[in-house]
Amino acid sequence: MTNSTVEAIQGIEKIRASNIPVVEPLSNGHRACQGCGEVLALRLVMKALGHNVIVVSATGCMEIISSPYPQTAWEVPWLHVAFENAAAVASGVEAAYRVMNRKGKINQPDVTILAYGGDGGTADIGLQSLSGALERGHNFLYVCLDNEAYMNTGIQRSSSTPYGAMTTTSPPGKKSIGQMTWKKNVAAIAAAHEIPYVATASPAFHIDLMNKVRKGAAVKGPAYIHIYSPCPTGWRCDPSMSVHVARLVVQTRIFPLYEVVDGHWRLTNKVKRPKPVIEYLKTQRRFRHLTEKEINKIQQRVDKEWEELVKRCEY
């Protein structure tokens, strides 16, 4: 780990239960669905970042629910351009701030540049622009709000949809069990760019999430945080269950919480007594068609991926 990254991470003002920020740069009154785990995650991101930030949004649920002209839920500068280019747009904002500060046109060296997108805007259509921005080393934070399908257009599968899940384009049928592929690991792809900071987070572990956001914003260079974001509408579960499933997904080791600092992997939640995956799967009707055989297959995959992750963290 480089000294500058360590210093930046150690230098953050740590969030604890006693000092959770009261600011709401993403204010209430937006149009998200009841129980939306994605807007909860984004709200926590913004609480951690405060107001000295410029936000670049990909097209998606979080864009439409927060910006129907002439209304806006944003207390901070917010820019939406298109679906697949949030990281590229953020590259431009970041470069502009760098050059304006260098030329003495402004004196705002500490503005955080945040780009966010859903799993479609990140893992699928926006993967190229994300990779480009990470590789070029822009000083920005990219947050993927992963609700595991194209929810804004009506619950179509993405490469981030988990194996077996029912979506409107991965319907289970006589010849299909639903989603036939395993979830793309975008956090690992981001880490392969050897950027200073990569992490995963869940809104059920809100303090952990906010501290990871602060670390991502603090490091010099690109940071990527992949946030699991329950969607009761698309996952077919009760809106009151969002935080519950966001906790269960970690407790079953399906979505491990970890961070990668300058290439060093570390579990941030060791899940010493994991629950069986069925505990998680049965909370959502998108999985209800799965047979015992398929559930066992998922359990085996989760166990194998966990072992591999633990090995990575041992180095």
Binding site: H51, V53, L79, V81, N85, V89, G92, A95, M100
Partner: protein, 391 residues
Amino acid sequence: MGKRVGIEVSLAVSHAVMLVDVDVIAAYPITPQTHIVEHLSELVADGELDAEFIPVESEHSAMSTSVGASAAGVRTFTATSSQGLALMVEIMYIASSLRLPIVMAVANRALSGPISIWNDHSDMMLSRDTGWIQTVAENGQEAFDLILHAYRVAEDPRVMLPMIVNLDGFTLSHMIEPIEFLSREEVNKYIRPYRAPLRMDPENPITMGPVGMPEVYTEAKKAQDEALKNSKEVIIEAWKEFGDLFGRYYSPVETYRMEDAETAIVIMGSLAETAMTAVDRMREKGKKVGIVRPRLFRPFPAQEIVSALENVNNVAVIDRALALNGMGGPFSFEIRSVLYDSGLHPYIKNYIAGLGGRDVTVENFTEIASDIEKCSREGVKPGYEIINVRE
């Protein structure tokens, strides 16, 4: 006034970009635009231009990064051609609707397929309705001057629209021409420091790019259309000021030997210089032929075109692109449209010429003039013809 220097036109374009002290350049390589951005990256590497040069991973990101930089309030530049422009188009519509004064040079090249790196105007036609102001250079001096003009116009608070300077790929971009440069001091008299009226700034937060519900979408598009139309006045004003300062005057539509012309060749870009040679030869033989060359393509200079053509019998519209709809080239539709509305009814024929780098010669233009006069005299049904097709 600076001295005349023999230089490749692409490098002159880069030099103009340097003179306006651009802040962010986002670019992706594509032939024949490459020399422009290569030279800019050299100027940045050598410390002659203090800018961020962002070597993005696609043209889509070049345009997106330019949008981000411009929204943050800095002067931006990019350049592309052909497929690169096609990839940018999605974001070009958004750049103009966000009213961001990005300037882009397009070294015009044919669109695939089949893949062709050579010159025509199919990329210009692809981007014609994106809401960008577009000018078209005829020669190297114009390319240099039009870049400066573009920044002056795009950033005018009455305009605030992105702008393209078109120059023919290879046949203009790669030519070595004598160009009269301007000094920084001279350029500073013409280009003011850019102050964005609205920008991404945590001290003054704004929301840019919100959802346009059906209640507001129509009004947003009408406002944009008005802004584009109104820009014409500023475009002309900025050319006049350029002329007053530097002695080179420009207008939306250039005419050549049109005083008593019976037949007009309407054409855009560097091929007009070949047409001029042809017109000179035809004039020597007593043929009354002239040229009408729009330098401004967007907003379309309808009024000036009508004025230029009001006394002619025949209008030969040269398209450097083919619209695959069975009706000819896109430029001809626009010329026909403005003439119909004006009540003028000359004989119009559309000639599709020089697709994908096919040479167009002086003789081709004399043939075109003879052909349209014959068709007009014999009452041949107007239409279009692709010339120089190998049998």
